[in-house]
């Protein structure tokens, strides 16, 4: 019984971190219908910025995330205005190619600045754990999961309760209708892209102390974030959080009760199952689409 509870705790903590990594992607992919192949690169750029602040100023990565969020949001805004907005007018499919190219460029820049060696941060709580009788809760993962919960709640509240949030929802569900009530989808798109890119600061902070990273680590996290978004349902922030937990739990339970070898196949299997049973994802409802929209 203790083993099961411990496994569930680990699954939830790891899943929370997975959800955190996927938050930005669920906004751009789900709300704007842009497959942002640079999301993993943005995440790693944030990770390196948090690493730099930790290395040079000893700043805790979680605190560093609040500073990193600003330039990352600005970067998102610039990328949207210079690349995404222009290409969407020509052919939305081109954004995939462009963001993929951006990811490669970012990777090359990071390698030039920091080299290809693995990096990591080790804040004071890195190798501490909370012991509850026979149960262990690693502080690092706990803080990562806590960050995921906070970011999910903040984004959800922002989407449901603010004018911008409602505008985002309107623009994503019916761009033409949104225009009629004074919401310009392109302007809203810029905001979403900035928020999505800015939110990578928190995923990057968690990544910096939870795992080792290199410039090409982006591939792994992009793949995992895509899995989370597909399972959770496009555009649903709570869906992404739930899907992250589901993936984490599935991975932990598989590792403990089936085999470590199967753990890396869990996300793929879960996607297959979800797409078969519920193609729109677990936490989104299908909505009526206007003809031609």
């Amino acid at each position: 019984m203790t083993e099961l509870v411990q496994t569930l705790i680990f699954g939830i903590l790891i899943g929370g971190v997975y959800a955190l990594m996927a938050t930005g992607l669920t906004l751009t992919f789900g709300v704007m219908k842009i497959v942002n192949m640079a999301q993993g690169a943005f995440l790693i750029v944030s990770t390196y910025l948090c690493y730099a602040l930790w290395q040079h100023f000893g700043l805790d990565p979680i605190l560093a995330a609040f500073l990193v969020m600003v330039p990352m949001a600005a970067l998102g805004l610039v990328v949207y205005k210079l690349v995404i907005e222009r290409l969407e007018r020509i052919d939305p499919g081109l954004t995939i190619v462009a963001t993929f190219a951006l990811a490669l460029i970012a990777e090359a820049f990071l390698a030039l600045i920091w080299g290809p060696d693995q990096k990591t941060t080790t804040p004071a709580y890195f190798n501490q754990a909370i012991h509850l009788g026979p149960l262990v809760i690693p502080r690092a993962q706990f803080y990562g999961c806590l960050l995921a919960i906070v970011i999910t709640v903040v984004l959800q509240v922002a989407i449901k309760r603010t004018w911008l949030g409602r505008a985002i929802t309107a623009a994503s569900e019916n761009p033409e209708g949104a225009r009629l009530i004074g919401v310009e989808p392109a302007r809203v798109g810029a905001w979403i892209f900035a928020i999505a890119t800015g939110s990578t600061a928190f995923g990057g902070a968690a990544l910096s102390f939870l795992y080792q990273f290199t410039p090409d680590t982006q591939d792994f996290w992009l793949g995992l974030a895509l899995s989370v978004v597909i399972v959770g349902g496009l555009g649903s922030v709570p869906g992404a959080f739930a899907a992250g937990l589901l993936l984490g739990l599935a991975e932990a339970l598989t590792t403990t009760y089936v085999s470590v070898r199967w753990a890396t196949a869990v996300p793929t299997l879960l996607i297959l199952v979800v797409l078969t049973i519920r193609p729109q994802g677990l936490f989104t409802r299908t909505t009526r689409q206007d003809a031609g929209s």
């Binding site: 083993e3 754990a129 795992y211 080792q212 590792t255 470590v260 890396t264």
Partner: protein, 426 residues
């Protein structure tokens, strides 16, 4: 890659023009060339080549200069280059300048096979030297055996490589993966029974160089009364060890043995650190010898971690200190194990060629089967299958340095840290 037949800096275009000019020769020239080629092919088929003073001595090799093992290949290639430079500075081999004929296989086993076929059949290289990893050495050594060429490999210690009946294959390290646990088990057996760890967790990357060693650890430690409490094999693509470490921590073993091949060692330790679980003994097969290891897990946290090493920069074998010094001078940084392994393989080849006095593939193999060769990793001798009659050194991180703790002939530290201290905050 490098081509010494043209002066340095010769443009590629010039080289291709030279090839085209050769192609425009008269029929008489073609006939002479064909006759020469047939004669050379005949020499190759019988395993003999020209004697002293007949042009450069071409030594073929295919290395993973690109691809996922490029970092290993870079230092390995540099080990070969240092050896060639030293041999040439000393007058060459059999009076001939040594030329390394290097192809890039991109860490692809199929390309490696193709490359060695080309080196033998098309480039007509006089001798071969091996590539890196068991994965690539498997096809390369098979082609060398088929063509009756001597094949000395710097790495590729998987036991399966030496069960194919080849008589021309030699492994230029002190021991294969099967001998990797020997010295650790010897030390373990020397501990008083009441101080020995009682339980062990085993974790293995699904790799031919890791799995056999861990299987031996399991069998022999069980024979010494150590109970298995966790045993898993993970995919080489595994990068997140949190769930695995959680399983290990839950089993609470006294010691953890990991068949870690490269970058899988550090993230596993970091996952154990996060859980605040530190075993009394941690043995990882290769990862702790990597340059990046102390930085990745924190220098203090390396204390007491065991590994096995084929070579140590500090080992007091003849020529080792000179190798470290020359390599550092030539390349600006100290050599790693891969550089040392390739240098050792070349040393073995050089010794055999000098002893036999001619390029005769069978005679060279026969000589190596019946003699011991002094190298920077100590004296090497082989059994009939090319397996070295020896064992890898037992090393342990002590105060930020990887020290050799056994065998005594190579030891750089007379103490062993046991039990391993807990994780420290860096």
């Amino acid at each position: 890659m490098s081509d010494d037949r043209y002066p340095p800096g010769t443009p590629l275009r010039t080289r291709s023009v030279a090839h085209r000019r050769r192609g425009r020769g008269s029929s008489r020239a073609i006939a002479i060339a064909a006759t020469t080629a047939i004669a050379l092919a005949g020499c190759a088929a019988t395993g003999t080549s020209g004697g002293p003073g007949s042009g450069p001595l071409n030594i073929g090799m295919s290395l993973p200069l690109t691809g996922s093992a490029a970092d290993v290949a870079k230092s390995g290639y540099q080990g070969y280059k240092l050896w060639a430079a030293q041999v040439n500075a000393a007058g060459g081999l059999l009076g001939r300048n040594v030329h390394l004929d290097v192809l890039d296989n991109g860490f692809d086993p199929n390309q490696t096979g193709t490359d060695y076929t080309r080196l033998i059949s098309q480039n007509k290289d006089d001798l071969l030297l091996g590539t890196f990893s068991s994965l690539l050495n498997a096809p390369a050594s098979a082609i060398a055996a088929r063509q009756q060429m001597l094949y000395i490999e710097p790495s590729g210690g998987a036991a399966s490589l030496f069960t194919r009946g080849f008589t021309n294959l030699f492994f230029a390290q002190p021991g294969t993966t099967e001998s990797l646990p020997d010295l650790f088990l010897e030390w373990f057996g020397s501990l008083p029974a009441d101080q020995r760890p009682k339980t062990a967790a085993y974790l293995t990357q699904d790799d031919p160089s890791a799995s056999p060693a861990i299987a031996i650890f399991k069998t022999r430690l069980q024979a010494l009364g150590v109970t298995l409490v966790y045993d898993q094999t993970y995919d080489p693509s595994t990068s997140n060890f949190d769930s695995i470490a959680a399983g290990v921590a839950h089993a609470r073993p006294d010691m953890v043995i990991q068949g870690a091949v490269s970058n899988d060692g550090a993230p596993f330790v970091r996952s154990l650190e996060k859980l605040d679980f530190s075993p009394k003994i941690l043995f990882q097969t290769r990862a702790p010898a990597d340059d990046t290891y102390p930085g990745a897990i924190g220098a203090k946290n390396t204390e007491g971690v065991f590994t096995a090493e084929a070579w140590s920069p500090k080992a007091a074998y003849p020529g080792n200190a000179a190798f470290v010094s020359a390599y550092t001078k030539m390349f600006g940084s100290p050599p790693d194990e891969d550089a040392a392994n390739s240098y050792t393989a070349a040393q073995v080849l050089e010794t055999a060629v000098k002893a036999v006095g001619r390029i005769d593939q069978k005679a060279l193999a026969d000589w190596l089967h019946s003699h011991s060769v002094g190298t920077i990793v100590g004296p090497l001798k082989w059994d009939a299958t090319g397996v070295p009659v020896g064992t890898a050194m037992l090393a342990q991180w002590q105060q930020g340095t990887l020290q050799v703790v056994a065998p005594k002939s190579a030891a750089t530290s007379s103490t062993v840290v046991y039990p391993k201290p807990g994780w420290s905050t860096r």
